[in-house]
């Protein structure tokens, strides 16, 4: 894989940002991931991943509006960059190709 610097958790977070765009920020991403996976996900972990992704250039961020439940604090909103989008597609293509080779020709034997 070309993008070896994209960790599994990072990939999921990146996907979540793309899915929740344009209002993606750490709280709803964490909530979403918790809801989807059933495991507890802390905002800290998500935030750290977001920061790393931004550093790598897959995401950009800006400060959004403040809300009451945040105690009047602004949130940092993330959007996927063009590079980020291409990386997601690359990853997905690799996976798809691999999946295509499994299905439907071979019956899956999970052990």
């Amino acid at each position: 894989m070309r993008r070896s610097d994209l960790g599994e958790f990072e990939e999921v977070v990146l996907l979540a940002v793309a899915a929740l765009s344009p209002g993606a920020y750490s709280v709803i991403i964490a909530e979403e991931l918790e809801h989807e996976t059933g495991n507890s996900v802390s905002t800290g972990a998500v935030h750290a991943a977001l920061q790393r992704l931004e550093q790598k250039g897959y995401l950009t961020s800006h400060l959004g509006e403040a809300t009451a439940e945040r105690g009047g604090r602004r949130k940092r909103l993330f959007t996927v960059t063009a590079l980020g989008g291409r990386i997601l597609q690359d990853v997905r293509a690799v996976r798809n190709r691999l999946w295509d080779r499994i299905l439907p020709n071979i019956r899956l034997e999970w052990s």
Partner: protein, 883 residues
Amino acid sequence: MASALNPMQPPRLADRLLRLFCAPHLHEEVLGDLHERYVVRVNRSDVAKARRRYWLDVVAYVRPEFIRRKSEQYPKPTNMTMLRNYLKIAFRNLAKHKAYSLINIGGLAVGMAVAMLIGLWIYDELSFNTYHEHYDRIAQVQSLEYGEHGVGTNNSVQYPLGTELKKNYKDHFKHLVMASWNVDNVLSAGENKVSRKGIFIEAEAPEMLTLKMVYGSRAGLKDPNSILLSESTAQAIFGNIDPVNQAMKINNKLDVKVTGVYEDLPLNTQFKDVKFLAPFALWVSDNPWMKEKAMTDWQNHFLKIYAEINPNSNFETVSAAIKNAEMKNLANFPEQARLKPEVFLLPMRDWHLHNYKRGVIDNGPMQLLYLIGTIGAFVLLLACINFMNLSTARSEKRAKEVGVRKAVGSIRRQLVNQFFSESYLVVILAFMLALLLAMVALPWFNDVAAKQIAMPWSNLWFWLACLGFISVTGLLAGSYPALYLSSFQPVKVLKGTFRVGRFASVPRKVLVVVQFTVSVTLIIGTIIVYRQIQFAKNRPVGYTRDGLLLVAMKSGDFYGKHELLRSELQRTGMVSEMAESMGKVTEVWSGNDGFTWKGKTPSQENSFGTLAITPEFGKTVGWQFLKGRDFSRNNISDSSGMVINEAAVKYMGLKNPIGETVTWQFRERPLMTYQILGVIKNMVMESPYDPIVPTIFMIRAHGGTNHINIKINPTVSASEALPKIEAVFKKLIPTAPFEYQFADQEYALKFAAEERIGKLAGFFAILAIFISCLGLFGLASYVAEQRTKEIGVRKVLGASVANLWVLLSKDFLLLVIISFAIATPVAYSFLSGWLEKYTYRTELSWWIFAASGVGALFITLLTVSFQSIKAALVNPVKSLRSE
């Protein structure tokens, strides 16, 4: 807890924790996220669970990404660059305000120089005797005696005590040496003759005192006919050669061989005057009476004993052990036993500053040390106050600079650094100036303080002390501007609405009051000390000191030549009279009791001054008779006559003293009977501050004379007479050098200690008032500058120069008046305490205080007026034009 009341409020403690570790620039988003999620959780489940989760969430942020602080937003110049900039600005500021800089640096430098000199002096006093390596273990053996007039200490002890200690207590001591008194002796080698003080001491002494040998060895004194010379003595006798093994004579009779030369002991040692050491046994053999009588006589105190205790022991245990060494041997000496003598050790470290005086530790030297130290600290404080006052007063001027610096991005820490580096720059400049001043003033200071202090350039402690001193002063003086000025808000300062509060000048005023309180106290003190000295100097002395020479009869060759000397001296025409006496005329050399007279009550057991003289003594010193007549050499019965002074008459209570019979029982001698021939006016022989000792002058007394008094013919000058007198002495007493003292100089020495205090106090008072006035001058100029506009407006509206002068001066005058009110009682209590110790003393008159106050006011007015009149004379057009 507040969180318990409001369920929507997440745990505060967790927030505080987060703020602690999380980088500040992330606080907003992170806390926002946490709080939002908390609300979501509370809505979904219960509060307790949400709170628990909140903690976990917070902990999840403990990651390097969140902890790492963001780098500074602004470019970060290196410290060196900024420092260079600060120094440049500081130098420009100094150069721009020359008068202010001069006052600041000069004042501080003077204060520091004084502190430095005083520090050196105190160090010198405290390091007394530390020249000896075994300083910590050396002591003198003394005894406490409980007499009828209270407890006394005796530092001269008996020969048998030495024997006793050596025999029965030797385990306590590493060295124990007996020594003679340090008195003048004539040393001669060939034709070279000098008179030097020296002691006869046992052979272990050089080792004990760790003398630094130039030639020969410390063991040299083991030779029974040897002598160790100090370097200066050796130089005076033998010149610059190695004198070891040279033969010489002591007092023209003892043949000795030089076995070593030691480095002269420095001035801050007790043995500084000991210029030679000779074997103790030689002294004993030279004085046959010692062998005959003194070896076992517990009553004859005639020598000193020095000891070095063992390294693992201490003075208290040894003192306790030897306490009864004397008492238990006194079975055959009931008189001595009545005094219940207790032997003890006086450690070397106490010799100089904690010695005994009449049985109690004398606090005088330590008090002087504290006094001078305190005064020095005060002078330094005054200088520091100036520095602070001027810096704070000028803070308003610097406020704009602070505003600009902040506006272009200085952070507070940089401003603090700037002001500190500025104050340190000034302090360091002042310190260098102070070093220079101290160096220049040191010879003079040595003169006044009777010391031989050198600048300790190579002493590490000196430099450490200086460094500490610079840091403390810089910190003290720089802290106010650094911490206060740096807190200004740039917006306010630059908009021009900034005003220092009304009470900003209060600390400044308080400091000025402190300065003037100290100054006025010192002025009053100086005046009182001088008045006291003058008072004692004006005391009627009762004899004539002019042209009176005193010659000590140092060796046996002086004796038995009285008549010959007298006639020869008078034949020169230079000498009007000559007489011998017991001790100098400036001391009461001997005192005894045992007198009986008509009407004596049993309580009158005080001792009298008892002085043996030759018949012409009175004529020589010029005493003045109240009643009766002087001794006459033609009247043989006068040898059993006595002349007494007024004080003696008063003490005896005699109405008609002339012709009264007085008997004297001196120790075991046969009773002596005297007739009172005359009464003289009191003569100030001892301290001029003490009452006169009742004194009796006799021709036939308990001992012989030991001083020659020579009255130079009043018609000739001393310089003319001295060579002729010397010639007579050279002829008649060729074995001794002609050495003399002038009575007036000897008398003047009685005032030395007080004059020293007076001189130092005067010096400090002048400095204190000078430094205070410098500060006042600076402040006045600042105030005048600040009120330029106000003065301009007032002038335009018709105020006269006098009005303005009053306006500008009255604030300062008020401060000085307040200081005077504080200083008066302080000075009064200190000085009445000081005067207490003098029996014969001046009064604390009110006018001294008044004069000091008026003087201080006058000087203040002078200082302030210069500035205020200058400001009042400025043309208002000029001061109001610029805006």
